[in-house]
């Protein structure tokens, strides 16, 4: 075993503190906030609604359209407002991550807009965004086969860890940091996998297994936040 200490003292498979809340944007059909440590994401769902312009309509199924956007002041070095190459790619990745659990065949010619906004960033923003979006879609009443759970696994030198902070992402000793954002259904099927760094197959297997275990916790968090939002009116 390697002696490795995480900068914030967490255990290898320990997630940062999670906060989740559903129903935060009154105008939206569904909305949610997901916070992991110092990373805060909010998501709003509008739809299913008629797709405009008409030539973008799909007569066979509804279209899922995600936008991921970081606030200019969510990071130390201000980001220029508006879309970037990075946000364009992540938006598409998020569509791919979420679509497998949606029953879009029932909504031909429509679009479901999922807007994700990062308020504060300390790594793992796409994962937080996906968790927020999963809850917002459920809150909007879009038929879903399952929820989508997202977490970033990683490797710091030789040690597999979960839920990397920015400080850990910038780790440079030994093999440095490997970042593996993963999303999956509660039944365990991967709908999103990315990797940056240096890792072998055996280590990756371990990382995915650890991520899968932690997603059970994230499932409970999402489910509880959704139940809490429904129960508010039950007085």
């Amino acid at each position: 075993m390697t002696e490795f200490e995480r900068p914030d003292g967490r255990k290898e498979d320990e997630l940062r503190e999670i906060k989740a809340k559903v129903g935060i944007i009154p105008n939206a059909d569904g909305s949610a906030m997901y916070q992991s440590g110092d990373t805060i994401a909010i998501a709003a769902v509008y739809g299913p609604k008629k797709m405009h312009p008409q030539h973008k309509q799909n007569p066979k199924k509804g279209v899922l359209r995600c936008t991921y956007n970081m606030n200019s002041f969510s990071v130390s070095d201000r980001i220029k407002p508006g879309p970037s190459r990075r946000s364009t790619e992540i938006s598409k990745i998020i569509e791919w991550a979420l679509e497998p659990v949606l029953d879009l065949d029932k909504y031909p010619n429509t679009v479901i807009d999922v807007h994700i906004n990062i308020i504060q960033a300390d790594a793992g923003t796409r994962c937080a965004g996906i968790n927020a979006a999963s809850m917002a879609l459920a809150h909007a009443g879009v038929p879903m086969k399952d929820l989508i759970l997202s977490i970033s696994a990683g490797k710091l030198d030789k040690t597999i860890v979960l839920d990397l902070s920015k400080e850990e992402e910038d780790f440079e000793d030994g093999d440095g940091a490997t970042d593996i954002p993963i999303s999956m259904t509660n039944s365990g099927e991967l709908t999103h996998l990315q990797l940056d760094g240096k890792i072998n197959s055996k280590q990756l297997k371990k990382a995915i297994e650890m991520a899968r275990k932690s997603c059970k916790k994230i499932y409970d968090v999402q489910k509880k936040a959704l139940k809490d939002a429904v129960n508010v009116g039950d007085k």
């Binding site: 944007i25 009154p26 105008n27 939206a28 110092d38 805060i40 909010i42 998501a43 709003a44 509008y46 609604k49 936008t67 956007n69 606030n71 200019s72 002041f73 969510s74 990071v75 130390s76 070095d77 201000r78 407002p81 508006g82 807009d113 807007h115 994700i116 906004n117 308020i119 504060q120 960033a121």
Partner: protein, 269 residues
């Protein structure tokens, strides 16, 4: 024109006008009364100053970031100010994706002038090396939920965020900003500009309209005011205003400035 499901119906607009004839509003407010204002500070640790502002169901986030840049050639001895606003599609079914539309551009510009013209930021104290390097102050505004009057909410947020914003240290040798070393506040002068927008519906003047009331508005006047001193104005909309309406609007703005500023002062302490 096709019926837009997101716009307020003619019936509702007519009812708003009828109610106002008797000085009544749907939510029982007085014509010159704001909704409850809630300000929450430090909503992003990565900003030098940040706030969440709620006016009823309307919500905006405002953050102040600083950076360094070369000064503008016409002001080598002054720092720079830049205000941008994004009306996020997340915050309303009316806002579409794509480049900023007129409403977002106007909002950013009106907030910018309210701050700039009042001279609240002491730009001359934001010089690192004259003619070469100065501080850039960015004020960025994001709408989270639009239930009317985003502009005043954004302006309240801009003032509050500036009031709490810190200036990081600048390492001149390394030419690097040390964002985690903030000791001083951003140098501010003794003014506190808040934009207050007065809307005309029928022959009544109201403040802080909800989305529906904003749709019923015929014309509006935004007054950037600090303790009785006006430093920016913008009239929007086609219907003209009479002199007495303009001065009544200023009286309404002065009165509301006092109450709104009290709330901002509370969060600074």
């Amino acid at each position: 024109m096709a019926e837009d499901i997101n716009s307020t119906s003619e019936t509702t607009i007519r009812r708003i006008r009828e109610y106002l004839k008797e000085n009544k509003r749907f939510d029982k407010r007085k014509t010159d009364e704001f909704r409850e204002l809630i300000i929450e500070k430090n909503i992003s640790k990565k900003a030098e100053g940040s706030v969440r502002v709620r006016l009823g169901k309307t919500e905006v986030l405002v953050g102040v970031k600083v950076g360094t840049a070369a000064p503008y050639p016409d002001s080598p001895d002054k720092g720079n100010l830049m205000v941008t606003a994004e009306l996020l599609p997340l915050s309303s079914p009316r806002f579409e994706l794509g480049p900023p539309k007129f409403d977002a551009i106007e909002l950013g510009r009106v907030i910018d002038r309210g701050i700039r013209e009042s001279k609240i930021i002491d730009l001359e104290k934001l010089v690192i090396k004259e003619g070469e390097k100065v501080w850039n102050i960015f004020i960025d505004i994001y709408s989270i939920n639009d239930d009317g009057n985003l502009l005043d909410a954004a302006g309240i947020g801009a003032l509050a965020a500036l009031k709490i914003a810190k200036l990081p240290k600048y390492d001149e040798e390394e030419e690097k900003i040390l964002y985690d070393k903030c000791e001083k506040n951003i140098p501010l002068t003794n003014v506190n500009p808040i934009p207050i927008t007065v809307h005309k519906i029928g022959n009544k003047l109201i403040v802080d309209p909800t989305r529906e009331e904003e749709d019923a508005s015929e014309t509006r006047l935004t007054i950037g005011i600090s303790d009785g001193i006006i430093s920016s104005m913008q009239k929007g909309g086609i219907v003209p205003l009479k002199d007495e309406e303009i001065f009544e609007a200023i009286d309404i703005a002065e009165k509301n400035w006092k109450e709104l500023f009290k709330k901002i002062e509370k969060i600074i302490k």
